[in-house]
């Protein structure tokens, strides 16, 4: 079996990453799942979380995804990301500020719709903070 496969990370604005990798861990809606070459075909929703790209047994790159979809076939893994950021590029202080602002928005929301929207943004921001803080794990599966 081949020991690597194609990973494509695309956002609506651009193609972020297209390269050959050994393993990725995708934040699926029902839990993280690792993808190795020859994975069974899966289409999954993505929850806000960390996408980890592995090479040579260690994490090479980590991205924060705000949501999206993953399509996995035997020789390819395509991530349609909603907002993808390289974790090293995220500024922790500004995320903290974002979380604080959104908490305020949730409490001060005028109607149901507005509150639901603010809560959704808050969940994404909190997940982002969590991704920044989480240690970059090296083992995985």
């Amino acid at each position: 079996m081949a020991d690597s496969f194609e990973l494509e990370l695309v956002s609506p604005e651009s193609l972020i990453l297209s390269e050959t990798v050994e393993m990725v861990v995708v934040p699926g809606e029902e839990g993280d799942f690792g993808v190795l070459p020859g994975h069974a075909p899966v289409i999954s929703n993505i929850r806000p979380g960390t996408l980890a790209v592995f090479e040579g047994g260690t994490v090479k790159q980590r991205f924060f995804l705000a949501g999206g979809f993953a399509e996995v076939t035997k020789e390819r893994c395509t991530i349609l990301a909603e907002g993808a950021l390289l974790i090293e590029d995220i500024d922790r202080a500004s995320v903290e500020q974002e979380v604080r602002d959104l908490r305020e928005d949730v409490t001060s929301a005028a109607d149901e719709n507005e509150r639901a929207r603010a809560e959704m943004s808050l969940a994404v921001a909190e997940a982002k903070l969590h991704s920044v803080d989480a240690p970059s794990y090296s083992g995985g599966h």
Partner: protein
């Protein structure tokens, strides 16, 4: 005959017009290049989205009963929603007028067949034209959405409205009408049907996925429920980008023509100016000579 002073003023004013049109042409050319880059950068996402959706649609087609209405349609086609993508700025040749003419023809045709037509318009030029001509059919007009470039968030705003209108059962068929970018010289008014989803690429997609059957997580219906509105936003975004590139192309061509026309006009005005000036000199000379002869 116009006096020399008048002619001088005309020439000066045409010259300054030419300066403006040629500057606008340069700006449009620069924007066109950026718009094309953006349109190309957005392509991979749309293509992969389409591939994923097509393979899902193929599975869903197996049991049309449970397929979500956004994929298969409501089963009726009584109310048509037309989403018109025009520009915020004018001075771009026939860009908006072709689009509006096409939409008006569609409206007449659909209403002639006894359908109801609703409109969502993006772009100030289209909004003002449709407010005038289509009146109450206009549901929403978005202005200044594409500033400085169409962004995905703005396209999602439009798509969200389409989604919520569809869920409220306010229309059956949704079509986007925009100017497709062919080249800087050519833009084609193109309809793109969003709902029901018409998968043109489904045959090709099932080939590329090796006929593999996918597992779905959490399940097919939930993914479709999330993917379909998403696809809507992507398609709207794509047509907005295309339309933006077309607008710049159309403006570049229009301003190029205007610059050339101004040049021609300056040439012919200068000719008239020189002739008039020479005629004035000649007549002055004749006066002097005949005055001298009379002595």
């Amino acid at each position: 005959m116009a006096s020399l002073k008048d002619l001088r003023n005309r020439i000066a004013s045409v010259k300054s017009t030419r300066r403006i049109t040629s500057a606008m042409k340069m700006v449009a050319a620069a924007k066109l290049r950026r718009a094309q880059e953006h349109a190309e950068a957005a392509r991979p996402y749309a293509e992969r989205m389409e591939r994923m959706l097509s393979s899902l649609a193929a599975t869903a087609a197996a049991n049309p009963e449970s397929a979500p209405p956004m994929l298969g349609g409501t089963g009726k086609d009584d109310t048509h929603l037309l989403v018109l993508i025009s520009s915020d700025r004018g001075l771009c040749g026939g860009f908006n007028s072709y689009l509006i003419r096409d939409v008006n023809r569609r409206i007449t045709q659909l209403e002639g067949a006894g359908k109801t037509v609703k409109l969502i318009v993006v772009g100030r030029k289209g909004v003002s034209a449709m407010r005038r001509e289509a009146g109450s059919r206009l549901i929403t007009g978005y202005e200044d959405l594409a500033k400085p470039m169409p962004a995905f968030d703005q396209a999602s705003t439009v798509a969200e409205q389409i989604t919520s209108m569809f869920e409220a059962g306010e229309f059956d068929v949704c079509t986007v009408i925009y100017n497709k970018f062919v080249s800087a010289l050519e833009q084609v008014v193109t309809p793109l049907q969003l709902i029901p989803f018409s998968s043109g690429a489904s045959a090709e997609a099932s080939e590329s996925s090796d006929g593999a059957t996918y597992e779905f997580e959490p399940d097919e219906e939930e993914i479709l429920a999330a993917l379909l509105p998403r696809n809507l936003a992507v398609q709207v975004y794509r047509s907005m980008l295309e339309s933006f590139a077309s607008e710049q192309g159309a403006r570049m061509t229009a301003m190029d023509n205007a610059t050339r026309n101004a040049g021609d006009m300056i040439d012919s005005l200068s000719l008239v100016y020189n002739r008039t000036r020479q005629a004035a000199i000649t007549s002055e000379l004749i006066e002097i000579i005949s005055g001298a002869e009379a002595l």
